[in-house]
C-alpha cells in the first residue's frame, strides 16, 4: 500500500473488486492468510475483552472469506460477519466458518438490535467506505450511518477495533471525527510508525461512558524509539507557549476572560470536540484589531 495506484478501492467498488478470482486468493495465498491472521490477533488484543474465558458474541465487519473470523472461533467466541461481496461470502461458506454471514453494505447501517454485541472487529475494510461509488453516495454520511448503528448495537463498555489503510492524515481524521460524533471515544493507534511497510493503523473505538479510558499503546520496533499514538486531544490541541500574553488582552466588562489564553483554551476545547473549522493558533491569535476608523 505505498503509492496511491496500489489502492484497490480506487479501481472498483468492493462488490466488484472482490470477484471469484480475487476471493480465491484469500484461501490459497498463504502470505495473505498470514497477514490477515496477524492483523486479527492484534485487533483482538486492542479489543481487550475481559479474560474470563466466557464465550462472547462479536461482529466482524467486512468479514470477507472468514479468515479473521477463524481467529475469533479459535478463541471460543461466536461471531456474525457482514460483507458486501457475494464471492467472498461464498468462499467463507465453503470453508465452513463457524460464524453466521450476511450480505450487507456497511455504509447503509448495520440494522441490529441495541446492546446485543460484546465487540466488533474489522480488518482492512473501512477504507472502502471512503470512496463514493455512485453520485448518490456520500462517504461522510455512509461512515456516520455505520458508526451510529454500530454504537447502538454494542453493549455499553464494549469496543470496536477497525484495522484500516487510511490514504492520508486528512482521511484518518475524517473517519475519527465521524466516529466521535456518533458517541464513541478513542482514536487511532499506529503500530510501527517509522516503517512504511509494517505501519498499521487501528481505529480503537470505545463506548464506555464512565471515565475516559486510556487508548492502548502502539507497538514499535525494538531499536526505534518513539511511539506514535495520536489521540484526538493531542498535538494540535496543545497550547502554545504561555508567557508574555497574560498582561494585555481581556475586556473591561470581563476582566478575567477573553484574553489570548482564554481564546486558546476555547479553541482547544472545540478541537477536542471534533470541530474541523477551528483556525490554527498563531501569533495573531487574540491580538487587538487595528482601529480602522482612522482610514
Amino acid at each position: 500500500m505505498g503509492r496511491s495506484g496500489d489502492r484497490p478501492e480506487h479501481t472498483a467498488p468492493p462488490d466488484v473488486f472482490y470477484d471469484d478470482v480475487e476471493a480465491r486468493k484469500y484461501t490459497t495465498n498463504s502470505r495473505i492468510m498470514n497477514i490477515q491472521t496477524q492483523l486479527t490477533e492484534r485487533a483482538m488484543e486492542l479489543l481487550a475483552l475481559p479474560e474470563d474465558g466466557q464465550p462472547r458474541l462479536l461482529l466482524d465487519l467486512g468479514c470477507g472469506s472468514g479468515l479473521s473470523g477463524e481467529t475469533l472461533t479459535e478463541r471460543g467466541h461466536y461471531w456474525t460477519g457482514f460483507d458486501i461481496s457475494m464471492s467472498m461470502l461464498e468462499v467463507a461458506k465453503e470453508r465452513e466458518t463457524e460464524g453466521d454471514l450476511c450480505r450487507k453494505d456497511l455504509g447503509q447501517g448495520l440494522g441490529l438490535r441495541p446492546g446485543c454485541y460484546d465487540g466488533a472487529i474489522s480488518i482492512s475494510a473501512l477504507q472502502w467506505l471512503c470512496n463514493a461509488e455512485t453520485s448518490q453516495q456520500n462517504p461522510k454520511l455512509r461512515l456516520k450511518c455505520l458508526f451510529d448503528s454500530l454504537y447502538k448495537c454494542l453493549a455499553r463498555g464494549a469496543r470496536a477495533v477497525f484495522q484500516m489503510y487510511p490514504e492520508n492524515a486528512v482521511q484518518a481524521e475524517m473517519i475519527t471525527v465521524t466516529a466521535m460524533k456518533s458517541g464513541f471515544t478513542g482514536g487511532v493507534v499506529v503500530d510501527f510508525p517509522q516503517s512504511s511497510k509494517a505501519k498499521k493503523h487501528y481505529l480503537v473505538l470505545m463506548t464506555s461512558s464512565a471515565g475516559v479510558p486510556q487508548l492502548p499503546q502502539a507497538l514499535e520496533d525494538e531499536h526505534m524509539g518513539q511511539v506514535k499514538v495520536y489521540e484526538r486531544t493531542s498535538a494540535k490541541g496543545k497550547r502554545r507557549k504561555d508567557g508574555g500574553h497574560g498582561g494585555h488582552g481581556g475586556s473591561k466588562r470581563h476582566p478575567q476572560a477573553k484574553g489570548r489564553d482564554w481564546i486558546l483554551k476555547k479553541k482547544a476545547l472545540r478541537r477536542k470536540r471534533g470541530y474541523m473549522d477551528v483556525q490554527p493558533d498563531t501569533k495573531y491569535t487574540g491580538r487587538k484589531r487595528r482601529n480602522l476608523s482612522n482610514f
Binding site: 462472547r56 441490529l112 438490535r113
Partner: protein, 123 residues
Amino acid sequence: MKLLTHNMLECHIKGVTNKYPFKVEAEEMENCECEFNPDFLRRMYPKLDWKALKETADELKIEGLPESVSEEMLKGDESFLRAFHHALLEVEVQEGALICPETGRRFPITKGIPNLLLNEDEC
C-alpha cells in the same frame, strides 16, 4: 442463517418504524451440528428477544422451546438447554427469504446467506 442472527437483525429501510422481527420464509433448512456450550446460552439469554425466537421457531416447526424461561431452567435443565442450543445455533435456513414486517420487502436468502443490501431509494 441461524436463528441467533435472525434474532439480532432488524429491518434498516429508511423510515420504517415497525422493523422487528423479520418474518422468515424457509424453503430449505439444514441442521448444522455445533458444539454445545451452555455458558454461551446463559450469556445470550438476557440479550435475546425470546418472543421473537419462540414465534420463529414455531413457524419453522422447531420443537422444544417453552413459552417462558425461568432461572432454574437456564441453570441446570439439560433437555431445555439442548433444545435452546438446537434452535439458536444448529438450525440454518439455507434457501428462502426474510420479509420486512412493515413494508413486506423480501430479502432473499441464498446458500445460507441473506442478502440485506438496500436499493438506493431505501436508504
